[in-house]
């Protein structure tokens, strides 16, 4: 509760106005929009009281486009101009698509992106997505009576950059300001408030109409990281309907039926499936073109018909767990997403597999949109007083020092946070067993011009030749702007980490000054960087040649050859000692000379080592090798 002060009569300040921000779940089969009202996330209904908008758009040669149920109704009559599942085409090239199952539309290639040829012209999936988003935006504006300031849109965790960018483009085309794209499983976890809960691993089981996704999330310091995703792009609630329809056909010996009849059967099957989540048996009555069927379907029969489908969803679950090398007991909670998870047999199978009851309190169709709405409310600034300091972007780049006193950026400036980035580095010297990491902030190329945040050392690496070690450095900034840096040598697993507060002590003025400096000094910085990189290259070459000479110089090189190499090394070392900022070309020339001069030596060393490896081996043993 905010603290109040006494005002002069009539001058009490008006409380700030609410800023409207929505969460949108742009799904393959259904989309919906939600908003936080009076502290509670709620899905918004259309004029007819329906929450779900089928993700279908019907285009006409003239006249307005139809979306949702209206478009769905046109599906049978005009399949080529009724676009469903556009999400599957989002950000893809024609060559990326799986053409084994035919698409009912005329797909064409437009500037290396897939597009759909309709009576209303050639349309990109982005434009189809935008039409759906515009419909949801209009719904939200009507329901909330105001302009939408921003939206959080969810995307599948496996979406790549192109697909995410396409989703953002669609939102921009629909006139929506995207506050952030978040992963669907993360949104579901947020809807259940898991982001405020205990740190640990959570599984999100998402069985939609036509797709199945399983994600394993790790919550650390308020940030969800997707550890693994797995799924089946052709498994969903629709397959359960099909099993019921097939059962009816078999029971009544219907044989080959028309497409229209099959559609009627599927509709009845869907109703029966939904009813069986509540009751133990349902009558299935369908009026077909020539005959009428009437059967009773019990839940036990339904479960027997679909048992293998339920089992099929568990295979990706096992695979995801294997990917993160964890057992089911490591999972602290399971969230169910997607209308198909209402089926009791799914809930039972999930509960049995994970050994714990899944979270089911929220409507599984809405949970993703509700989480997105919660996030949108937070991002737009309607909820600020409960300890969340949400820095939206990093004000300056963050990185580490590399050889030659250079700053290597790992998280660029303006990256939205929370975020995590990793990059691999290697060792510079043979037998190096420790690595000193210097964490920096700033836009300049040289370490001396950046701000030093922290230093730490990774000890205990196994000795290897220079360049063989693989050290993964991970930068992570949580929602509180806290940076943690971890370094891990991948072959031995040794690791070290440190936590820093990067924005601490930096005022706006200082950030502005640092940015201005970097722009003024850009050209000079680049020159410096190139010189330093050339110096590092030269030193590495000198070290390597020196080591090689010590090992094989006597055996493989004649004395004049040795002398020549020594001469080249001496010249390079001298240039290195004396070179100024303008001697970059000379340094490169000297490095090149030594490089060329030692090529023959390197070739002989290679031959010698191959000979050593083969000496005393039987031909038969070598055949196995090659």
């Amino acid at each position: 509760m905010a603290l109040l002060h006494i005002s002069e009569p009539g001058l009490a300040p008006a409380p700030h106005q609410r800023r409207l921000a929505v969460g949108i779940d742009l799904g393959t089969t259904h989309s919906l929009v939600a908003c936080v009202q009076s502290g509670v996330a709620r899905a918004l209904e259309d004029a007819d009281g329906r929450v779900l908008l089928p993700s279908v758009v019907h285009y006409q040669a003239e006249g307005p486009d139809h979306t949702g149920y209206e478009a769905l109704a046109c599906m049978a009559a005009d399949p080529a101009n009724t676009i469903a599942s556009a999400k599957r085409l989002m950000g893809r090239a024609l060559a990326d698509l799986d053409r084994s199952a035919p698409w009912p539309y005329r797909l064409v290639d437009r500037s290396s992106q897939v597009a759909i040829d309709t009576v209303a012209g050639v349309l990109t999936p982005v434009e189809v997505g935008a039409t759906l988003l515009a419909a949801l935006k209009a719904r939200a504006q009507a329901a909330l009576d105001g302009d939408i300031e921003g939206a959080v849109i969810t995307v599948p965790a496996y979406f790549d950059d192109a697909q995410r960018q396409a989703t953002k483009d669609a939102a921009r085309l629909a006139g929506l300001d995207v506050l952030r794209l978040i992963n669907e499983p993360t949104a579901a976890a947020i809807a259940y408030g898991l982001d405020r809960g205990a740190e640990g691993l959570y599984a999100v089981y998402d069985l939609g109409g036509g797709t199945f996704d399983l994600s394993i999330l790790q919550l650390m310091r308020g940030v969800f990281e997707v550890r693994a995703t797995c799924g089946d792009a052709a498994l969903g609630g629709d397959d359960f309907d099909a099993r019921i329809a097939d059962w009816v056909i078999e029971q009544c010996r219907l044989g080959d039926i028309t497409l229209a009849d099959r559609r009627r059967l599927l509709t009845a099957a869907r109703c029966a499936k939904e009813a069986l989540s509540e009751v133990d048996s349902v009558p299935v009555r369908v009026a077909l073109a020539t005959t009428e069927v009437a059967l009773v379907l019990s839940r036990a029969t339904f479960e027997a018909l679909t048992g293998d489908l339920v089992q099929r969803t568990l295979a990706p679950v096992r695979k995801a767990l294997r990917d993160v090398r964890l057992g089911v007991d490591a999972i602290q909670g399971v969230v169910l997403v997607g209308g198909a998870t209402r089926m009791p047999q799914i809930r039972n199978a999930v509960a049995e597999f994970f050994g714990r009851a899944p979270l089911t309190d929220l409507d599984p169709d809405q949970v993703v949109a509700l989480g997105a709405a919660t996030q949108a409310d937070l991002l737009v600034g309607n909820r600020a007083s409960d300890g969340w300091l949400l820095l939206d972007v990093t004000p300056l780049s963050l990185g580490i020092e590399t050889m030659g006193g250079l700053m290597e950026r790992i998280i660029p400036r303006n990256a939205t946070i929370p975020c995590a980035r990793a990059q691999e580095f290697t060792t510079f010297k043979d037998g190096q067993t420790a690595m000193s990491l210097h964490v920096l902030q700033g836009e300049r190329e040289l370490v001396s011009d950046c701000r030093s945040l922290a230093r730490f050392t990774l000890h205990g690496m196994p000795p290897m030749v220079a360049g063989a070690a693989r050290i993964r450095v991970t930068f992570q900034i949580d929602a509180d702007g806290l940076l943690s840096v971890a370094a891990r040598e991948l072959s031995s697993g040794v690791e070290a980490e440190i936590a820093v507060k990067p924005s601490y002590g930096l005022g706006d003025d200082e950030i502005t000054r640092m940015l201005a400096d970097s722009q003024q000094a850009a050209a000079e910085d680049m020159q410096q960087r190139m010189l330093r990189e050339a110096e590092v290259d030269a030193r590495r070459l000198l070290d390597a040649t020196e080591a090689a000479l010590a090992e094989d110089g006597e055996a493989l090189l004649a004395p004049p050859e040795r002398a020549h190499l020594r001469e080249l090394m001496y010249r390079l070392a001298e240039t290195l000692e004396t070179c100024g900022p303008d001697d970059l070309a000379e340094l490169k020339r000297a490095t090149d000379a030594l490089n060329r001069g030692s090529t023959e030596f390197a070739g002989r060393r290679m031959d010698a080592s191959v000979r050593r490896a083969m000496t005393g081996q039987r031909v038969s043993a070598l055949e196995g090798l090659f």
């Binding site: 509760m1 905010a2 109040l4 006494i6 002069e8 009490a12 609410r18 009076s38």
Partner: protein
């Protein structure tokens, strides 16, 4: 049918009134706006409206219009220090939820 001040709050109000040099008491009201629908207003009172309800608490006159009183009945107004901020805080038994920013509430 009461709205009261804590002793600490009453002392503060008297200090403020004395410093201001005029005023007959404190006016409490509820306005409809803000994220959660309703927001408090706290003003010095130079005169009472005809239908204002009068409460006397630790020697301070509190004025509440009848419409606001429906939302404020039973409220205790306290003066608190929270970190670097100090100010008046409503303890309102009618409030069921507050928006995150705390400027408004719902009943």
């Amino acid at each position: 049918m009461t709205v009261t001040l804590t002793e600490r709050a009453a002392q503060r109000v008297q200090n403020f009134l004395a410093k201001r040099g005029k005023g007959i008491g404190l006016k409490l009201a509820v306005k409809t706006s803000g994220c959660s629908g309703l927001a408090y207003a706290l003003e010095f009172a130079d005169q009472a409206a005809d239908d204002d309800l009068h409460f006397d608490s630790h020697g301070v006159t509190l004025l509440v219009d009848p419409k606001s009183h429906a939302y404020l009945d039973g409220t205790v107004l306290d003066f608190v220090r929270e970190g670097l901020n100090e100010g008046f805080k409503f303890d309102n038994p009618n409030a069921k939820g507050a928006c995150g920013c705390g400027e408004s509430f719902a009943v």
